[in-house]
Symmetry: C2
Subunit: 301 residues, 2 copies
């Protein structure tokens, strides 16, 4: 039986920290071992700025967690973990562009287009998206690589993250009801978080479809707490511009329901996730997966 | 033995036309059968505008040609053919953006950002890149899907197309020698054209590496003739803005060598391609592959 990263009864925060010690070196290795290493210097620097400037690495931690939950060794999930973080990093670079959310600060640092120029930022995002599939395709097991690439492409695409970003931009300045906001959250944020768990499950040889309900609820909870944080915290606390949802007239859970009811909706999503956990056919880490909704909710306390 | 699309002794122009009858419906099917069909309407329209507004479909035709050259049925190469055209279409959408080449006309139509706005153009390009891998991953043979995804990601990435575009932007207004221009051409254009042949070869179960020399020479010849066309034709003839290389101070074969010597360099690349053809371990289509350099050179006559 493979050694687990942490005891099965632990907090998700501790898991996240333990994962970082595997994930950060894996991200750095990916920058050296993929075709990025052969690219122009400025592009390499921009990609590294986007990928290696911190971040909580939630998506990689979810991939490792689901893999171990099915009895797989965490290392098996590293390509999927790295690929999800690359897609996440690319989406931030493109979302921050002047023609999109026009943001200058990310993780306490200048955004990629501020630091490297707009053209290089577009190309660095493009590069990261392609590199995610290069990393998946480098795996020795062809069926795992093929299945993970299909899952990731669908989650990142028009019915997932990219489509959600499109809906998010179209909703600016419009009053959306809670169902409209939930649809944006499901596509823009939940799809990639969910597929992180699913790539981990697939790395262990398990059926990713079993994770749909739990992963979807956790994903929407993540964006719900992001909406709450944007409305209640300062820029210094977040390391990115605070209050920008309201400033941009974004359709959020807070704009649809108000702060108090949005908080209750987030609690409901936490309960939904814990209920869905019952049906997961996993061997371990049930305690960590039960703690994950609380970890997300606690970000807002 | 599978039926061939055209006789082995034919012109590449006739092959291109014959391929179009398979490729256009395959591109339309890909828009309906992938997750694009589930995306927001405006994003679907922008992607269709980029992918289905004509174009010569050279890359798909190369994929089908290499597959048949190894004795494979052309249908086997369609996923790779569609994926290469999606990557090509995405690159045009992003290259046309105001922060990149800032172009308003493509194939005689408004560019995607002119027709749909800049944010949607960024997202439509992102969507097309991901869809390319979704199409590859949908193939029943996992090893083919995994290998093709790896080849395409590398060709489109920092050491290929995206890196070449970065170098191209950095070279604006600088005087590059012919070796510097050749390096940009190899990455910006040749890598994706070459991998189109290689994905076709892989679809037939052959070794893509055998195509490196021929495909690289044809790819560089393609960009060489593009440089010549930009310098010598009108916007109406091209269906895209003519003379923009000189207007942007781009590093091209024409800027490095002058028009006459650039023409001779293109002829040299044609000879290089025909020489490399001798070493290809193929069963058929040697005549078509020998005609391809002439087809490209004839574009400039």
């Amino acid at each position: 039986m493979p050694e687990t990263l942490t005891p099965t009864r632990g907090s998700f925060a501790a898991w996240l920290e333990a994962c970082g010690r595997q994930v950060e070196p894996a991200l750095e290795r990916a920058c050296r071992s993929t075709s990025l290493a052969l690219g122009p210097a400025k592009l390499r620097q921009a990609v590294s700025h986007a990928l290696l400037s911190g971040g909580k690495r939630v998506r990689p931690a979810l991939a490792l967690l689901a893999c171990e939950a099915h009895g797989g060794a965490a290392e098996l999930a590293l390509p999927g973990a790295v690929a999800c973080e690359m897609v996440h990093a690319y989406s931030l670079v493109h979302d921050d562009l002047p023609c999109m959310d026009d943001d200058v600060l990310r993780r306490g640092l200048p955004t990629v287009h501020v630091a490297f120029g707009e053209a290089t930022a577009v190309l660095a995002g493009d590069a990261l998206l392609g590199l995610a599939f290069e990393v998946l395709a480098a795996q020795p097991d062809a069926a795992t690589a093929r299945d993970q690439a299909g899952l990731l492409a669908a989650a990142a695409g028009p019915a997932g993250m990219v489509g959600g970003q499109q809906l998010d931009l179209e909703a600016e300045g419009r009053a959306l009801d809670v169902a409209g906001v939930a649809a944006i959250h499901a596509a823009k944020t939940a799809a990639l978080l969910a597929v992180s768990l699913q790539l981990g499950a697939r790395a262990a040889g398990a059926d990713p479809a079993a994770w749909t309900a739990y992963a979807g609820a956790v994903g929407r909870l993540f964006q719900a707490t992001d909406d709450l944080l944007d409305a209640t915290r300062t820029t210094a606390e977040l390391g990115k511009t605070a209050g920008k949802d309201a400033a941009h007239g974004k359709a959020t859970l807070v704009s649809a329901l108000g702060l108090e009811a949005a908080g209750r909706a987030a609690q409901d999503l936490g309960r939904e996730a814990r209920a869905a956990l019952e049906d997961l056919p996993i061997e371990r880490h049930r305690g960590l997966l039960a703690d994950l909704p609380d970890y997300l909710l606690n970000r807002c306390r």
